[in-house]
């Protein structure tokens, strides 16, 4: 069998058969469950427009997906190194490029599972509205590059540092920094700094698109610049991972 397929197969089984992988998926489902429950049961939030609620759920899925991708990415090389399983991979007839591709495909599978898991939650909060289909489509189109980009960033740092803790913390800081303009509210977002960050921040790019298409029903053509931004983000992070994984820290 092709080494890339073998490694991707192992990554998938690590998520679905290993206790650690199942805990991550459970944590992801827990975040979505708690948020969906809040949107439905909280009196003030339940008064929100259906489109608003679907937009918030799509944003939460992207953020939770990015968080799990960062955890998985940080574990990709450094976790294998710490558990003593990296050297057997590096000494097998597998190139470092194939190893990275296998792990990258494993992350794609993980996001695929998380994306599918998000459907019932989106349906539970937005079944009565017109925007559910759009939310699912744009979550796939914009959420995928954002989530995978954060996963590849963590993977690159994991290969470079050889420490799960250090790569996880660094990636989480970048993730928090990316989400910060959204967390601090419209005041900062309307300033020059906020606008600049919004323009280059893939996380903002995805959320602004969700806002535009789900709430304002803007056309797809208006989202091309943001689509370009998130795809550039994905490309850059994959290139960073590829360079970093050429000589991963293995001792």
């Amino acid at each position: 069998m092709n080494p890339v397929t073998l490694i991707a197969q192992k990554e998938r089984s690590a998520l679905l058969q290993n206790q650690r992988g199942l805990v991550w998926l459970l944590a992801y489902a827990g975040i979505l469950s708690a948020f969906a429950l809040l949107l439905i049961s909280n009196r003030e939030l339940s008064l929100l427009d259906n489109a608003q609620v679907v937009y918030m759920m799509a944003g939460t899925v992207t953020a939770a997906g990015a968080l799990i991708a960062v955890i998985m990415g940080a574990d990709a090389y450094a976790g294998e190194r710490e558990r003593g399983t990296l050297v057997p991979l590096l000494t097998a007839p597998v190139s470092t490029g194939e190893l990275l591709m296998g792990k990258a495909l494993g992350l794609v599978s993980a996001w695929g599972i998380m994306y599918l898991l998000a459907f019932p939650y989106l349906w539970s909060v937005g079944a009565g509205g017109q925007n559910l289909g759009q939310a699912i489509f744009y979550l796939g189109l914009f959420g995928t590059p954002v989530v995978l980009g954060f996963g590849y960033l963590a993977m690159a740092l994991s290969a470079r540092s050889g420490s799960v803790m250090s790569s996880l913390l660094t990636s989480l800081i970048v993730l928090l920094f990316s989400a910060s303009p959204l967390l601090v509210g419209p005041g900062l977002r309307n300033s020059t700094i906020g606008k600049t960050l919004d323009a280059v921040n893939p996380f903002s790019g995805a959320l602004n698109t969700f806002d535009a298409v789900i709430i304002d029903s803007d056309p797809f053509t208006g989202q091309l610049a943001r689509l370009f931004l998130v795809l550039i983000w994905l490309g850059l992070m994959f290139a960073f991972a590829r360079i970093s994984a050429r000589r991963p820290v293995f001792r």
């Binding site: 069998m1 080494p3 197969q9 057997p88 597998v94 001792r251």
Partner: protein, 308 residues
């Protein structure tokens, strides 16, 4: 030749890790790579496996000058010192999965597991394995594709005496019957004496010895004695004809460079006159440990410094 490495040097992060390492191995050799902690043994192995690139020197594996790494690795089996596994898998599934990198298994997983005494636990999750069982599985992982060269880092760590003996027998069979070259990196000199035909000793990133075990153990021609000291002889110099080798408790081992005109009795009188106090003398047989300590120098040099 399986390995032909000459004058290998490697610098990592500005620090010289290997300065001049030589290693020569042919088919069927069992080669013991020895050296103190931090001497560069594991780095040498990493270099042989292409995980590092040498700054200087020549390296040929299987007589190929510019190797295709994947092709080379198909011919090598590696057992790293820290043997990790995907613990949610069972031993049988893991071996089948790992063999996939080499184009699949040449035999059944049960035959492989039987070879290392794990046939009854093939369906058990690896997380339930003891240290010794994990070591056996790690050895089988290295053998799964029938390699021509086997690189083993501390393979008998964590094994009980019976397990150790079984692994020894398996390695001897592999070398003698299948002509597999075995590079054994270990601190257990008993393993080396039992298994190895050739020895390489590295100290401070340099090869300080490389030859057959027989040659190493050959008498230097200078008689060796062990003396039981009644007090610690700090600050007392040694007579010039006596060289301290090492110390084992209150027994101190010496090599005597006996001048033709002097008998051994005179040597002991000289030693007593130099302030050394002992109550028993015995003849010291050369062991691998003595040679190892003498060549790597740390123990003897430290003692000599203390005495001087």
């Amino acid at each position: 030749m399986l390995i032909d490495a000459n004058n290998l040097a490697l610098t990592l992060s500005g620090q010289s890790i290997l300065a001049d390492v030589n290693l020569h191995m042919k088919k069927g050799d069992v080669y013991g790579l020895l050296g103190p902690n931090g001497a560069g043994k594991s780095t040498t192995i990493a270099l042989l496996l292409g995980l590092y690139q040498a700054d200087r020197g020549e390296l040929q594996l299987f007589n190929q000058q510019s190797p295709d790494l994947a092709a080379i690795r198909r011919r090598i089996g590696v057992m790293p010192e820290f043997a990790g596994f995907y613990e949610w898998m069972n031993a049988r599934d893991y071996l089948i999965w790992y063999a996939g990198f080499y184009g699949g298994m040449q035999t059944t997983p049960d035959t492989l597991l039987q070879r290392v005494g794990l046939s009854t636990v093939g369906n058990k999750p690896i997380k339930q394995f003891s240290r010794g069982m994990t070591q056996r599985l790690a050895l089988e992982r290295a053998l799964v594709h029938g390699p021509e060269l086997l690189i083993l880092d501390e393979p008998t760590n964590g094994l009980d005496p019976r397990g150790r003996r079984e692994i020894h027998d398996l390695l001897i069979d592999l070398a003698e019957q299948e002509h597999v070259g075995i590079l054994l990196c270990t601190h257990l000199l008993d393993d080396v004496e039992r298994l190895c035909s050739r020895i390489g000793i590295i100290d401070g990133g340099r090869s300080v010895f490389e030859d057959s075990l027989e040659d190493l153990l050959q008498d230097t021609g200078k008689p060796r004695y062990r003396l039981h000291m009644t007090s610690v002889p700090e600050g007392h110099p040694l007579p010039p004809e006596i060289r301290l080798i090492n110390k084992e408790g209150s027994w101190w081992n010496f090599e005597i460079d006996l001048p033709t005109a002097m008998d051994i009795g005179r040597v002991w009188i000289n030693l007593l006159e130099h302030g050394w106090s002992f109550d028993e003398v015995g003849v010291k047989k050369n062991t691998l440990e003595d040679h190892y300590l003498s060549l790597t120098g740390v123990s003897a040099a430290t003692l000599r410094e203390k005495v001087a």
